[in-house]
């Protein structure tokens, strides 16, 4: 049965279905409803909710809870994620699973509270210090806010690494039907956890490796996990790409806009298609490469001055022209505006 649900609330419902029983967070617009829903629901099902004194503390509480082996999460928006970067580096280094939701708002600095996609570099490329990656999922609907949060818990446990749900103010704030299946995912056994029990007494959670050889081996181990994830975990979605001349590429809310743009372009006789990365790390490079075989133009649209477009260009390696269109400051491009931009571009002679 479908419930009309806010994206931010769907995150918490999905998390609880995924067995998450601990939430540590700090309020920030436009992510606060996640903390509010966690505060409402988690204690009713025997879970822990705590509003921390800062995002720095929140992510370190997550570190502590994850050390003890529980499924745990936090959520924030850009400025808060900046503060959590330290913790994310430590979590990845100590191989601790957790789920972090970033409901991206306009930046840099205090910016504004309207949606942007400008945390891509900070989240997808690392953000904290050292050679580590976050596993990054980008929902495009309220349903996916729940579904991908659930998946994020599974991936986080599978790779013993932070998984980030990277979304934006629109997806967080909007309401859409949400259908929850009573599919409850179970956390795997975590024999490495420190629980204050005789069996777990020999365990240690740490991220310090003073000897260069030891640290190198550790970093290579992490690298191996990321290589495996790059092989197994890329996820993507396509729309009307079978005969496409022009391939639009966008994630999250922009992929929704581009879906409309594709229909509008086809009404005007342009054979357009959409490629939407669902995982931003690992980036679905192989799938994208295959999609561009027969296209004449790749049009990337982002609500940033150009971040994911770098991954698209690295993937396509100059085989097809890759153009970039962006809006920032909290402005979401309309389907019509992207359509008109492309129509103009296609009418103009190629330089």
């Amino acid at each position: 049965m479908r419930q009309l649900t806010k994206g931010n609330v769907a995150v918490v419902k999905g998390a609880i279905l995924a067995g998450c029983r601990a939430y540590y967070g700090y309020p920030i617009t436009p992510a606060s409803e996640i903390a509010e829903a966690a505060a409402l629901y988690l204690p009713q099902v025997g879970g822990t909710f705590l509003q921390a004194e800062s995002e720095v503390s929140a992510i370190n509480m997550v570190y502590g809870a994850s050390s003890a082996g529980v499924r745990v999460m936090t959520a924030s928006s850009g400025p808060g994620l900046s503060l959590m970067q330290e913790g994310l580096s430590y979590l990845a280094a100590a191989e601790l699973p957790c789920v972090v939701v970033d409901v991206v708002r306009g930046g840099p600095g205090l910016g504004n509270i309207a949606p942007e996609q400008s945390d891509y570099f900070a989240i997808v490329k690392g953000g904290g210090h050292g050679c580590y990656r976050n596993l990054v999922l980008a929902p495009a609907s309220v349903q996916e806010m729940a579904d991908l949060t659930m998946l994020a818990f599974e991936l986080a446990d599978r790779y013993r690494n932070p998984a980030v749900v990277l979304t934006d103010g629109f997806i967080g704030q909007m309401m859409e039907p949400l259908e929850l299946h009573a599919h409850i995912s179970q956390a795997p056994e975590k024999p490495w956890a420190v629980r204050g029990t005789p069996e777990t007494r020999p365990n240690v959670v740490t991220s310090i490796h003073l000897e260069p050889d030891t640290l190198e081996a550790h970093v290579r181990k992490l690298e191996g996990k990321y290589k495996l994830a790059e092989k197994l975990e890329p996820r993507f979605e396509t729309y009307r790409t079978e005969d496409a001349d022009v391939l639009l590429v966008g994630y999250g809310i922009v992929s929704r806009v581009l879906r409309s743009t594709v229909d509008q372009l086809r009404e005007r006789g342009v054979r357009a298609g959409l490629f939407r990365p669902v995982t931003l790390y690992p980036f679905p490079a192989r799938a994208l490469k295959q999609e561009v075989d027969d296209v004449r133009l790749v049009q990337v649209v982002e609500m940033s001055t150009g971040m994911m477009v770098e991954d698209v260009r690295l993937t396509i390696e100059g085989r097809v022209p890759v153009e970039f269109y962006s809006r920032v400051g909290g402005n979401v491009p309309s389907a019509e505006e992207v359509r008109d931009h492309l129509l103009q571009r296609m009418a103009a002679p190629v330089a």
Binding site: P30, E53, M61, V257, L258
Partner: protein
């Protein structure tokens, strides 16, 4: 059999051989005369005596004691700089039966981790914090600490700590003693045998309190750092006595045996109940309208002042669409503007999956005030509809591309008895124009959303009348044009 009897030995809470240590696995990495060795010993012995080894989780800081897990044969978690109390919070709340020890130095706890320690103490986290205060940064080579004494030289206060530039030594135990929640706070010193024995008692007491389920316990331990202080171990102990004690007086600052106030219990529900996975009785099953042709959709923009129920109206329409079996999206304006001025939302109803929830050219604009009308009317689709909450358009204002119906919704709502239902009057007007939304569904949604919130049959009745008033008004005003 040996011809001697062991009467004193290393605590069993220490590993016999320090296997985690890269080299010299039989000795610690601490300098001769360092207070950490003594403090570790006191903590290990207390854990052993209280029978807590299996249950203990030791959270180590950044600083010389970062490698405490080389030595303590308990569960170990190493934390980022200053974050032990936050990490310990996460650990303890995940494992309430465990004994959680956070062990921190003065840079870690009193500088970078000030927020973490203060708030963990203020929440009364059931953890024990051992605070090693040696008035200097040891591991990084002798920089100034928050607890560095006035006039004390360090590599970053080469002229001695000058209060005008660097402020005064921070008195953490006293600071925490201003809080309500902590149950035990004491400052001790490792400056001579007598005081070390006092420290031993304090360490044990703190852990015993945690064992008994008491709240936050804290022991500040004044501790020698001969290497950085550039003293021999005996002089270092003397320096504590002569220089540190006058600044950091010893003693018990909090010892509360009275039980803490228990929070009231939060009612427990099953996951299905809590997440409302079961259908509510009041909610009707989704209605599938087979007669609707594919491709039907409606894009609405609703706008007005904050408080006019614009966002709620949008939610009601979206809920109705969902129950009619349609795909729907509701996208609000959000944030401070909700309080200070205008609010608006975009609602899409469609038979197919919805692309952009952001509407550039709506089929329908519901404008509840003049500002919204002027702002959004030009965006309405050619042949679209504007429902305007007034009896007439502003003078000289026209919208050539769309049909405008002036519905004096606020006036009609007033006649019904409350201005609050003006949005429902407009819903009634909208329904007169669209086959996508049905009367029975509207009533069901109003009962479950508006009705439940207000908990009043009277308000439900007013909503029914408002719905009807809107429909009636439209019947008189014009014939339907949409779909």
């Amino acid at each position: 059999m040996s011809d001697y009897q062991v009467t004193h030995s290393k605590s069993r809470v220490f590993y016999d051989v320090f296997e985690r240590k890269p080299e010299l696995k039989h000795q610690t990495h601490y300098c001769p005369g360092c207070g950490h060795g003594v403090a570790h010993k006191l903590v290990a012995e207390a854990i052993e005596e209280l029978g807590l080894q299996e249950r203990t989780i030791f959270v180590s800081p950044v600083g010389c004691s970062v490698f405490a897990y080389y030595y303590f044969d308990v569960g170990n978690v190493q934390a980022a700089h200053g974050r032990c109390p936050a990490v310990a919070t996460g650990v303890k709340r995940a494992c309430p039966e465990s004994i959680v020890v956070a062990y921190q130095g003065d840079g870690d706890l009193a500088a970078i981790g000030t927020a973490e320690i203060l708030h963990a103490a203020n929440r009364g986290e059931k953890i024990t914090v051992f605070f090693i205060n040696n008035a200097i940064y040891g591991m990084t080579g002798g920089q100034m600490a928050p607890t560095t004494l006035v006039g004390q030289k360090s590599t970053t206060s080469p002229w001695g700590r000058r209060p005008g530039n660097e402020g005064y030594p921070l008195h953490v135990a006293e600071l925490l003693a201003t809080l309500e929640a902590p149950v035990y706070i004491e400052r001790v010193a490792l400056c001579d045998n007598k005081n070390t024995m006092k420290a031993r008692k304090a360490v044990r007491k703190a852990l015993e309190l945690q064992k008994n389920g008491a709240g936050f316990t804290f022991v500040e331990i004044l501790s020698p750092c001969p290497t950085i202080w550039k003293m021999d171990p005996l002089d270092a102990r003397r320096w504590i006595e002569e220089k540190m004690l006058p600044v950091f007086p010893l003693g018990v600052l909090r010892d509360r045996t009275t039980p803490q106030v228990e929070d009231s219990a939060i009612p427990q529900r099953t996951m299905a109940e809590a997440l409302e996975l079961e259908p509510l009785e009041a909610e009707a099953a989704e209605l599938k309208h087979a007669q609707k042709a594919a491709g039907h959709s409606l894009a609405l923009n609703m706008a007005g002042f904050g408080g006019q129920g614009v966002l709620l109206l949008g939610q009601i329409v979206a809920e109705m669409g969902m129950r009619e079996g349609l795909e729907v999206s509701w996208l609000p304006s959000y944030g401070p503007e909700m309080r200070s001025g205008s609010a608006h939302c975009h609602v899409c109803l469609a038979e197919e999956r919805i692309g952009s929830p952001l509407i550039t050219h709506p089929d329908v604009l519901i404008a509840m005030n003049e500002i919204s009308l002027r702002k959004f009317a030009p965006q309405v689709k050619r042949g679209g509809l504007i429902l305007y909450n007034r009896s007439a358009l502003p003078e000289g204002f026209s919208v050539p591309q769309a049909r405008v119906v002036c519905v004096p919704a606020s006036d009609l709502a007033d006649q019904i008895g409350t201005a609050k239902v003006a949005n429902v009057v407009l819903l009634g007007a909208l329904m007169a124009e669209s086959e996508l939304l049905t009367q029975e569904c509207a009533i069901a949604v109003l009962e479950s959303t508006v009705g439940t919130k207000a908990k009043g049959a009277a308000l439900i009745e007013m909503n029914r009348r408002a719905l009807e008033a809107g429909r009636e008004f439209m019947k008189k005003a014009a014939t339907p044009v949409l779909h």
